[in-house]
Amino acid sequence: MLKRKIGFSIIILYFMMGGIQAALPAGEVQAFSAQVIHQGAVGDDVIELQTRLQYLGFYKGKVDGVFGWGTYWALRNFQEQFGMKPDGLAGPSTKAKLVKASKYNPQQSKPVQSANVPIGYSENDIRLLANAVHGEARGEPYVGQVAVAAVILNRVESPSFPNTISGVIFEPRAFTAVADGQIWLTPNEQSKKAVIDAINGWDPTGNAIYYFNPETATSKWIWSRPQIKTIGKHIFCK
């Protein structure tokens, strides 16, 4: 009986020491990195910033690791109430004050996948566009992929085409990759990158709404469109 008790105590002691050992390096973990955190940033620093602002009652949104408007206003309120210039930037002095006033344990925060999504688009919109770009232009240089995404977006804007992304992509006979089912291949990271560049305003085509591959194009009509430029294997036109 006694033996068992000692055994228990040893086990408990062991766990306690283990606990202390585990706690020690956490105490030494430097709060925040040295970088100034700006609106639009993503990652661990933002998670810490949101958690600390939430702890102090300034931030009421989700801790998602994306420095959006909600985080921005919360940070400005914090700066104002703590006697700093409200610039919405988490620099050295702001971070020092935050660390002093709040608690944060990185082990407790749940890992989140944080990524920015351009305003007006959902992650699914981006995925659908990436599918189309991958199906249509996976052998093309990167710029050629941005170009295909830009053409789809230009069509959404154009009065002569459907005014939604899925409407443009699935319009019958509009894209060969849709007609032969290649659109359902899993897109790679590069096509997603190309889509985000196009959404963010890059249009290497110069406002084109058609493109074709001169080696495989069967329609005579497409040659009558005023051409803008060639990127990779595709000719882009109005």
């Binding site: 999504v117 992304i165 899925s166 990127i231």
Partner: protein, 443 residues
């Protein structure tokens, strides 16, 4: 002899029927792909409609003036009918799907009635605002579920035809994600029975001014190449290829392609003045070493080097180790929304990966900006009183008629969402209300 003839005939017959079978199979495949595409289109459009519906109802709640409210209600009504059309095309005839339809028709009825009446004489009652608030919340939950389902459809390549077929064969014990997903959506809507009867890219820049004010002398191919070499920071002649733009181009340009190792770039310079309208450099950016904020400083310096003056960063965002910055031109502290430029910076060493200055060169010119005729306080009074205003600016934006107007710009929050409101600085008209929050992630 007869034997050989019989063998030959048989062989011909077999190969003919093989050919017929494969071509029939091909045809069948093509038809099913087409049918599947049709379903996919209707489904993705439906989720887009619902997204838009949610966003529009939210913006409506943040609006104040009746002149903007009526067209907004009409817009919602139109989207609702789009959504109903798309819903009707989905193969769900065998499912009790009337609850979602009911939600759509409720929101449709409400907006139709309010849009058709003179909101100047009979504005929205408190009861009606409450109804709208309720609809807003419902659409949010519906959206979340639909988006989850859409995410599954896209990542797992789910097929509507399969769902349809298993429905048609009345297989009760089927394990079908599409069906399950829709049933979840359905349950949510049912839960609301008691409750009563919630843009597209931010774009305040006009595309109509079309490069009328581009300045400078016509430059030669050689001059263009020289300029590009400076921008790319590589003087190796062999890595460049230059072409003139075709006759379909909005503005005559030189299109230059650069290729060296894993660095590939595309640059467009206007032939008049040699202004860079589009630069995109592709190379791997494996790690992040500098912050988004440091990248902004690099972007500011880059714009100065390219002789853009008085530019101010309005949006910043980080994507996969790169920073994307939108700058706009400021004249006497007035923000000009038509003259925007985007810069992309690699956050490993701060190199510039891209510039998009199409809007800037399309619209930029010398403007004479009048003084505002109403005061800041008067303008503030025109904003929906439920909105908490955090910041104000003076700005020139393009209104619905595509005319540049001087406005007071307010940034404010309502129910945790940030909105941008433009109030005309001469007559106090609410020119535009836009939601600044993305629709967010679906995980």
């Amino acid at each position: 002899m007869y034997r050989w003839v019989a063998i030959a005939l048989l062989a011909a017959g077999i190969s003919a029927s093989c050919f017929w079978a494969t071509s029939a199979q091909k045809e069948k495949n093509a038809v099913s792909i087409q049918a599947e595409n049709h379903y996919q289109r209707a489904f993705h459009e439906l989720t887009y409609n619902m997204d838009l519906l949610h966003e529009k109802v939210g913006t409506t709640l943040a609006m104040n003036s009746k002149e903007r409210l009526s067209p907004q209600m009409l817009d919602i009504w139109r989207i609702t009918s789009d959504a109903q059309g798309n819903l009707g095309q989905l193969p769900l005839a065998l499912l009790p799907f009337n609850k979602t339809e009911e939600f759509l028709s409720k929101i449709g009825d409400f907006t139709y009635k309010t849009a058709a009446r003179d909101l100047d004489k009979t504005p929205l009652t408190d009861q009606e605002t409450q109804t709208l608030n309720g609809l807003y919340k419902q659409s949010k939950d519906l959206n979340n579920d639909l988006r989850k389902l859409q995410h599954k459809v896209l990542t797992e390549n789910l097929s509507w035809l399969d769902a349809d077929n298993s429905l048609a064969s009345r297989n009760e014990t089927m394990d079908n994600t599409i069906m399950d997903g829709f049933q979840t959506v359905e349950k949510k809507v049912t839960g609301y029975d008691e409750a009563n009867t919630g843009t597209s890219l931010v774009n305040n820049a006009s595309k109509e001014h079309s490069y009328k004010h581009i300045e400078g002398k016509k430059i030669s191919e050689q001059q263009a190449l020289k300029k590009v070499k400076r921008i790319i920071k590589d003087s190796d002649e062999k890595s460049y290829d230059i072409q003139k733009s075709g006759k379909g181009a909005d503005v005559a340009a030189y299109n230059i392609v650069y290729q060296k190792g894993n660095r590939h770039a595309n640059i467009d310079l206007t032939q008049t003045g040699g202004h860079p309208i589009n630069i995109l450099l592709d190379r791997p950016v494996p790690i992040k070493k500098i912050s988004l904020n440091d990248g902004k400083i690099k972007a500011e310096k880059y714009l100065k080097d390219l002789e853009f003056q008085n530019m101010e960063a309005v949006t910043t965002a980080e994507y996969e180790n790169t920073g994307v910055y939108t700058f706009l031109y400021k004249e006497d502290n007035v923000r000009i929304y038509s003259d925007t430029v985007q810069v992309k910076i690699a956050l490993d060493n701060g190199e510039v990966l891209g510039l998009s200055a199409r809007n800037y060169f399309m619209n930029h010119r010398d403007r004479t900006i009048k003084k505002p005729e109403i005061s800041l306080e008067d303008a503030k009074d025109k904003v929906n009183p439920n909105l908490e205003i955090h910041a104000d600016y003076l700005a020139v934006m393009d209104n619905e008629l595509g005319k540049e107007v001087l406005c007071y710009e307010f940034l404010g929050t309502y129910q945790g969402i940030t909105y941008r409101i433009f109030i005309n600085a001469s007559d106090g008209k609410e020119e535009k209300v836009e939601r600044l929050e993305g629709t967010g992630s679906n995980i």
